[in-house]
């Protein structure tokens, strides 16, 4: 049984501290949709996705009303499209556009999985598929794309890294009239996970069941509020407070995930424990770090504070859910977190500190605007650095940078909504072109040999 204080605490979390279920994401396998032509495959894909997820939005809305907790996003992830269009890769856009139409029909804001897994090598059909990404992202509205270029087991595919630098730039150019928004829907991963419910990096792994429901919880505001109540606690006690709070948040996610899967006739996949910020005040991961005693996110001490936060969130969450997966940690996207935006605008956090922070939290360099004249080889080098951190540390890392075409350091890009706004941040100008141009595979690290 629960007490009246428990009830009021939950109400406060929801009404004042932005507690919500960030996303209910249905993963759908597209492998049964492969047909002899691109047209037939695109039709089969559209039919399958709209049928499987037809009750996704209404079910999530009903759950939200019954349990009194907002469910912010309803989304779909699908099998990496490069696998579905392998026989006609140059026509992959047809399937991409069919998925975009399906997302609109379902009333969901994003659908992820215009993806390829090329961490050990790029097949010819995958190379052709990757080349379709910029146009497809420019011509669709809700489709998200991700590419896995490395893993701790296989090393880093530097040919793919080189190609992705060019693809990111081209995507920025083709969507320049929207501040390069196409790049906000494109993630380059190392150690991509197959059950991530968060966009833009969600796809439905080939090892997954046919249809699953994955849930991403949130609640940076709740954690910040809990820490406010213990302003003088030492860091052991602060970590304990974060753990307890993460437990409660995750339990709400677990309840919704199980119930949603049950009602949708899908398998309950995982709960992703990530603390996902939004640009709204009171919903910031950066402000949690500042609550712990940092003057501003980005100062020395930020990496340590983030490491503690990330670990405590995992410990509390793992206890609360029977199936944990996805990225499960703190997200540090610059444009989507008001504390990050303000620190970046004041010039108090830079790419180097952000890179260090990605060593200790989930994901990586996320939603960062860089100058529009950044060379492709530098974008590739940024990707390579992140992939190396992921590969060596056995964790997921990602790069989602937005080259701001025609803009320079200090200018701003703005996407609106959950994607937020960001100042253009400086990148190092030394040339990595020769290194990137070498291509090949960075071999897997020695500690990958575990069999």
């Amino acid at each position: 049984m629960f007490s009246k204080f428990d009830v009021l605490e939950t109400i406060d979390m929801i009404e004042r501290e932005h507690l919500d279920i960030r996303t209910v994401t249905m993963g759908i396998s597209l492998l049964p949709c492969v047909r002899e032509s691109a047209e037939l495959t695109a039709r089969a894909v559209y039919d399958r996705v709209t049928k499987k997820a037809e009750r996704l939005v209404e079910t999530a809305d009903a759950l939200s009303a019954e349990y009194g907790i907002p469910i912010v996003n309803k989304r779909v992830s699908v099998t990496p499209v490069s696998l579905v269009t392998a026989a006609f890769p140059e026509r992959s856009a047809l399937v991409g556009k069919a998925l975009d139409r399906a997302a609109r029909e379902l009333g969901i804001d994003f659908l992820g999985g215009y993806s390829a897994l090329v961490h050990k090598g790029t097949a010819d059909y995958e190379k052709t598929f990757l080349e379709t990404i910029p146009e497809v992202l420019a011509e669709t509205e809700r489709l998200c794309s991700s590419v896995n270029v490395g893993s701790s087991r296989s090393g880093i595919n530097m040919d793919a890294v080189r190609q992705m630098g060019e693809i990111v730039l081209k995507t920025a150019r083709l969507t320049a009239n929207e501040d390069g928004k196409g790049c906000a829907k494109l993630v380059v991963f190392c150690n991509a996970v197959e059950d991530n419910p968060f966009m833009a990096g969600a796809f439905h792994g080939v090892g997954e069941a046919d249809t699953v429901v994955n849930v991403g919880v949130s609640g940076p505001g709740v954690v910040q509020h809990a820490l406010k109540a213990v302003p003088d606690a030492d860091l052991t006690d602060a970590a304990e407070t974060i753990k307890r709070t993460a437990f409660k948040i995750t339990r709400a996610g677990q309840l919704i995930a199980k119930e949603a899967a049950n009602r949708l006739g899908a398998r309950f996949g995982i709960v992703d424990l990530s603390l996902a910020p939004t640009p709204a005040r009171g919903d910031s991961v950066a402000h949690i770090l500042e609550e712990l005693g940092l003057e501003v996110v980005g100062c020395h001490g930020t990496t340590a504070a983030l490491a503690m936060l990330n670990d405590a969130v995992k410990k509390g969450g793992v206890m609360a859910s029977s199936r944990v997966g996805g990225l499960s940690g703190a997200f540090i996207p610059v444009s989507e977190d008001i504390g990050m935006i303000e620190s970046a605008e004041a010039g108090r956090i830079g790419l180097d500190k952000l890179e260090a922070m990605t060593c200790v939290c989930s994901v990586g360099l996320d939603m960062i605007a860089i100058p529009g004249d950044t060379p492709a080889s530098t974008v590739s080098a940024i990707i390579a650095d992140e992939a190396a951190i992921g590969m060596i540390n056995n964790k997921t890392t990602a790069v989602r940078v937005i080259p701001a075409v025609g803009k320079k350091v200090g200018d701003q890009v703005s996407f609106g909504g959950l994607l937020g706004r960001a100042p253009v941040m400086p990148v190092h100008t030394g040339d990595a072109g020769k290194f990137i141009g070498r291509g090949g595979l960075i071999p897997a690290p020695i500690h990958s040999f575990k069999n």
């Binding site: 049984m1 629960f2 007490s3 009246k4 428990d6 009830v7 009021l8 605490e9 939950t10 109400i11 009404e15 809305d61 009903a62 009303a65 019954e66 349990y67 009194g68 907790i69 409660k248 339990r251 709400a252 677990q254 309840l255």
Partner: protein, 89 residues
């Protein structure tokens, strides 16, 4: 099915009367009731049984929200499991 009704806002006369009347009209049975006043903030918590109600929980929830707006309070009805999940191991 058991649910929790919470009413929060600035204290004033007749809140309990209005909320209980609203629930009675919808065949929702009140099993337990408690209230606290923190400063000028009023918080009432009711354990209710909705199994005799013709309305499902989602529509009761919408009605509660509207009624809350009408009386200038925040009124919610939520499945008890959200509290069980978050506050019990």
């Amino acid at each position: 099915m058991r649910a929790v009704v919470t009413v929060t806002g600035t204290d004033r006369r007749g809140i309990i009367a209005k909320v209980s009347c609203f629930l009675a009209e919808r065949n929702v049975n009140i099993e337990d009731i408690s209230q606290t006043i923190l400063g000028d903030k009023f918080a009432m918590i009711m354990m209710v049984d909705t199994s005799e109600s013709k309305e499902d929980l989602a529509s009761l929830s919408k009605d509660c929200e509207e009624m809350g707006r009408a009386i200038g309070m925040s009124v919610r009805i939520q499945h008890e499991d959200i509290f069980n999940a978050m506050h019990n191991i």
